[in-house]
Chain length 298, copies 2
């Protein structure tokens, strides 16, 4: 089965052709410029790919906020974006009209979560959270094997957590200042300490504070969703020394509540890095395409 | 179809017989004393009820934390309770052995949520949150029409929210001090202001602070679950003046994010009281029984 996947991000669109085993046969990166230009290049890539092979479906994992309600007249449109040309832009419509493929759309992070469920660190875990910590914080989740949405889609980066007493950083979020993303995404680290996060040594107090904020966010996600596993990805988490710190801090903050060894004792298996690394996004889009194809009885 | 429902609470067990229309034909309240005594009275009630009529299944909405994993050797046991005799107590086993009925077990709050979905304020809303604010704070949710659980079950009362600057109350939670429940449940109001919550007049500053904390918790639940509706029940919410205050505070805290009229403009329909009032718990148990019966092809 040949599946088309599109990881639509704020800086680049990654197009790929893959199969139900998570093997990729072709891939291209397109810079995110204006919608017409970027989507035109996406269409050209998949038209070209479909000359050699029949594509069964298209999966799209898209940056948000995006309208995921199939009953809405603005299904597949970005709802709010500071990015030039993308506010209210229709991402899905032009692709459906040009390619004529069954489409499954979800957020980039729900897509990546699905990729991890299918071929990565969440195999066998039907309820889990996938959190990416980079230029922003985004979260996706599966509940009972299905990507989580409702009225809209999760916005886990905007959890309201408590700024620690010894931190006077005002936060970077234009809406909420010191929300989860405003305190703990990469730009917050950089602005708080006045240097790029990746240049801060392991023993710098930045990381202890970062682990605290990540743990605060995770405790809230765990108390709400009761996931079987939490996957932490994104550029900030390439600082792998954060993992043991976050695990320890989650234990400390829970303080003996949620009395299961998986969380309170051996949480090395509870809080883990992605199994697919940087390919979670594009493989997630392939996994979305697989769902679209299976729903059509392919 | 005759269905047996048990709302198992920390102070009382409510047993009822009802049907698939949410009509109750018999009901009894049993004080929660020791497990053997209380469960013995439950068994006696349902044995008596089954003399007149065939009971198709038993639904149990139980206080927690409780083990909901059907594969666990301690399925249906309370995992942690300060209540004499109930720590590690097996709630479900004795009932199954004595009554021989198919059983569906969930938390009291997931049960109540299911009751609201079936016959109350959540009819037609397949993804929503049910929060009860009383002597504690408990939360249940349906996601895609199914009660939410994962590794354990949600513990929404233990969300970690920020204590407001003008509040120096240390919180009531023995585990986390100033978590959501520690700051905003009935006992926190009473201890903070030195008098019973229900004696505080509407214009007392207690209520503005309470609305703030409830809104903080709700924003975190909304950012994680993206519910289509939020139902607020429990004794504290019998102060109905809290509803407009909480709705306004949620809008203020979100500050223009989650740009949907349902949340940002007309959130009278987004944050609502229970449709079943105090009967949500017992009708939820009947709704759980209905699921057990339908799963058995009744």
């Amino acid at each position: 089965m040949n599946l088309a996947g599109l990881e639509a991000g704020g800086t680049k669109f990654v197009c790929a052709v893959g199969d139900e085993h998570g093997e990729l046969s072709a891939q291209v990166r397109i810079p995110t410029t204006e919608p017409a230009e970027t989507l035109g290049q996406v269409i050209a890539f998949f038209r070209d790919a479909s000359r050699d092979t029949r594509l069964a479906a298209l999966g799209i994992g898209c940056f948000g906020p995006i309208d995921l309600d199939p009953a809405s007249t603005t299904f597949g449109h970005i709802t709010l974006s500071p990015k030039h040309g993308w506010n209210q832009a229709d991402v899905v419509g032009p692709l459906v009209r040009a390619l004529g493929l069954p489409v499954e759309l979800d957020t980039d992070v729900n897509g990546a979560a699905l990729g991890e469920y299918r071929w990565g660190a969440a195999r066998g875990f039907d309820s889990f959270v996938y959190l990416t910590v980079g230029t922003g914080i985004g979260g996706g989740a599966l509940v009972g094997g299905r990507p989580l949405h409702g009225l809209l889609h999760p916005e886990m980066g905007h959890l309201l957590i408590e700024r620690r007493e010894d931190d006077d950083f005002p936060g970077t979020c234009p809406f909420h200042g010191t929300c989860f993303e405003g305190l703990a995404a990469g730009p917050a680290i950089e602005q708080r300490w006045g240097r790029k996060a990746e240049t801060l040594p392991e023993e710098h107090p930045a990381w202890e504070l970062e682990a605290h904020y990540l743990a605060l966010g995770l405790v809230n996600l765990v108390c709400t969703l009761s996931p079987r596993r939490v996957i932490l990805g994104g550029g900030v988490m390439s600082q792998t020394h954060l993992f043991p710190r976050v695990r320890e801090r989650v234990r400390t903050l829970l303080n003996g509540y949620l009395r299961t060894p998986a969380i309170l004792v051996d949480n090395e298996e509870f809080i883990v890095p992605p199994g697919l690394g940087h390919r979670a996004g594009v493989l997630g889009a392939i996994a979305l395409a697989e769902r679209a194809a299976l729903a059509r009885g392919a």
